[in-house]
Symmetry: C2
Subunit: 488 residues, 2 copies
């Protein structure tokens, strides 16, 4: 089943040969829409196959497939509009220093993109997911490295996508699929691979990032590796609605058996009575959560070991002990620790590392300075959340200041919400300072397409030789910057 | 003179501490304009200092300083407009899958930027150059690693910039300056440095790129390393205007004593009579070129040795022999070689490496297939040029096809022009596939500012807590995408 180096090479070459067929934006948009239609048409079979390999359950998987199809269609719309081509046209200007010749810039596809599937989203961050959809939208063929947790589903989905490609005259090689750890390493090193997208662990992602950077010709590596997703609960917020916050936190940290990259993994809650009420509410809600099945046995082992290691630390308590549930399941729980233990380097730093699964750490702070000291020690995150009181949310007190202070920590900042649930929308940003992502870009939302493009400018090029995108008369009706002025 | 690790640390910390003062866009724009004014006010003294260290001559240096000031003002205009903030606002949408909450995205500065100065542009790609100007425009403080070819000028310019900062209440630490090779390595490894810009050699740039990628927290490294800048002359173009092309090529390859990163270093010219006329014209024009002084003795040694090594290759001829001129000067020249020698791997591959200084290689091709075979073997370039006949430029024959074929090779494609001269304009793209640049971005032109920013999205954040940039009523009048629609 694992692809040999020769098979990886063949997949990459087939993808490379398919690139011209993607050059036409109308073909790309139609292909993406047909892919969505065909995935929906095959829904029952796909959900069944996904559930057999992941145990995520048909409800979650049906929703994830719907999201995936919505995303494919959203990227088709982005292709139609063409704003991502970033067209800029400057007519000659002799008053500039030095004089400006005729310059016309747009963006072109980078080439074959390697996509590394995630375990926890067999559709939305795997073969037909955001990396693939955005790369195809950009005009880049894709070779996917399947996740070992769902190889059969990956094959099934790849076949659906290839059929959709063929309907629009795009060679099936436009979507390659390889299996195996070594194949993944070969893939990122292949000379015809121009960029990579990855969703997974810090260890695996960093190894591939390093390989991408060490190539004779380095390539962009857009990896989403890990995130703690801190939540800060102000004293006033806890005083106002401790029970609501505790219940909301329980829901978010146990959603999908805690297997989301945006699971809140560290909560700064005040010491004292209001914080105690929050912990009590959380205790109740988490205790009521049913045991769940993790994606695979390796994850279950890591979760059980990771929780045990954390629980053994001094002053760490577990009001609801997370850990092994039944033979295959795990039970949700949470730990508490005085925030002072996290305010400086020490053995408790383990609590600042992501632990995949239904567990979170509630750090109780004595005062704002202590909370701030902990925040200042965090690595980069996908999200950072603050729970404010009504008055703080209205702008009184330190609300605005806290939002500003959380901004350097993450790519998405939330007020009075929970980070689980990543909407597919033009404004979405799913990324953040390392190790949240290895680049400044996003893997979800409209701007994800920007990762797979590079600019080219044409100088003094006669209209007859220019791509249609760059002609003065704008035959394709593209938004653009024309002689300095934004036009749409 | 060389900065110790402690001095590098102090410079970076001072820069980091100045970042809040740059948060206000009106302050940044005013600072950039004052910097331009003050550099102009100090022009005579600066040009004198630059000429003493570089021997580039007052005419070239005065022009370069004017360009540098124009560039600072251009970035001030970009700051005023604020399009680079990439504001995207989505109101909640329950019809999306999954539902979309209130999302508001813009871009924020990355933090302290390390800038590595170039030898060949003591102003425009050094302390006050495009990397510094674009980083300050983005809101990022800068620490410059001075080039050893012009340390005194670097100090002088840094003082002017710091004075300009102080006039607007920005701490002088916003522009740090360090000297020394080791200091440059320390700089890229410093935990508070968030990104780097570099202009220089492949060897030096790659070493710093590798260091940036190997950090515990990797950072973006935007390096411009090297470029051959191929030129393809079609048979018809040579037949039509061989003399004009030969003279134009001579002017471009000897401009600034061949010390431009966009110097045409490889010219594919047809074998036969028309190509012979081109070589004859080139011979005459290059012979008439006066000997010039290179930037430093290391460069002169490398040029003389590089030319000698290339000239010794079989079938390489030198109609005008480049090499040592007088004691300090070098004389311009060019080499010819049958293109067949470059069409496959071999000892002639040396001719596909950049040779800094007034030399170019004219490869004579027998037919189009041979020319195409050479082009397919080239590494990435900043520019690629095609010289077409009048009819080809009007769209007859293979003109459009050749423009398409050159596009994968470079970041700037020129028709019937010469690549030297890099205009500062919104559409400019000065970058290209590796080793032209280590990233997909540009170091010249309006979009250079994008390198120093990262997106952040605010979810369900009350208006009172939002940055003014993200409010519905758009108090700052920013171009943006609002509920999917582009507003300008």
């Amino acid at each position: 089943m694992e692809a040999t180096a020769q098979e990886v090479d063949a997949a990459v070459r087939a993808a490379h040969d398919a690139r011209d067929a993607l050059a036409d934006r109308t073909v790309r948009a139609a292909f993406l829409r047909t892919a969505a239609d065909e995935l929906e048409a095959a829904r029952d079979r796909l959900v069944e196959a996904a559930d057999a390999e992941t145990a995520l359950g048909p409800v979650r998987l049906t929703g994830e497939l719907a999201r995936t199809c919505y995303q494919l269609r959203a990227f088709a719309g982005i292709v139609d509009e063409g704003a991502f081509l970033d067209v800029v046209i400057d007519h000659p200007d002799d008053t500039a220093i030095p004089p400006v010749p005729d310059l016309r810039r747009h963006k072109v596809p980078l080439g074959v993109v390697a996509v590394y599937s995630a375990s926890n989203f067999p559709f939305a961050f795997s073969v037909p997911g955001g990396d693939t959809a955005s790369a195809l939208a950009a005009g880049c063929p894709v070779v996917v490295k399947a996740h070992p947790d769902h190889p059969a589903l990956s094959e099934l989905v790849a076949r659906v996508l290839r059929r959709a490609a063929a309907r629009h005259g795009v060679p099936e090689g436009v979507l390659g699929l390889v299996h195996g750890f070594e194949a993944g390493v070969e893939l990122v090193k292949h000379p015809l691979v121009s960029a990579a997208g990855f969703t997974g662990s810090v260890r695996g992602g960093r190894a591939l990032f390093d390989a991408a950077a060490a190539r004779p010709v380095p390539i962009p590596f857009h990896g989403e590796l890990g995130s703690l997703n801190p939540v800060l609960v102000t004293e006033a917020a806890a005083a106002e609605r401790a029970e609501e916050i505790g219940a909301g936190l329980a829901g978010s940290m146990t959603l999908g058996v805690g297997q989301f990259c945006v699971k809140p993994g560290l909560v700064l809650a005040p010491a004292g009575a209001a914080g105690d009420r929050l912990v009590k509410s959380l205790t109740g809600a988490v205790s009521d959560t049913e045991a769940g099945v993790l994606l695979d046995h390796r994850m279950r082992d890591n979760f059980v070991a990771g929780v045990a290691e954390r629980t053994r630390l001094p002053e760490v308590e577990s009001p609801v002990t997370p850990g092994a549930g039944g033979e295959h399941t795990v039970s949700a729980g949470f730990l508490t620790v005085p925030a002072s233990r996290l305010a400086q380097e020490g053995e408790h730093d383990l609590l600042l590392e992501e632990c995949f699964g239904p567990v979170t750490v509630v750090a109780r702070y004595e005062d704002e300075a202590e909370a701030r000291a902990v925040l200042s020690r965090l690595p980069g995150n996908l999200t950072a959340t603050v729970q404010l009181s009504t008055r703080e949310a209205e702008g009184e007190g330190r609300g605005a200041e806290l939002v500003r202070e959380l901004t350097p920590l993450a790519g998405r900042v939330l007020v009075n919400g929970w980070p689980t649930g990543v909407a597919v929308a033009p404004a979405q940003h799913h990324g953040g300072p390392y190790p949240a992502t290895t680049s400044t870009s996003t893997s979800v939302g409209g701007t994800a397409v920007e990762r797979w493009l590079r600019p080219v400018v044409y100088q003094n090029t006669p209209p007859a030789l220019l791509p249609a995108e760059l002609r003065d008369d704008n035959p394709l009706g593209l938004p653009r910057r024309f002689n300095g002025r934004l036009e749409r």
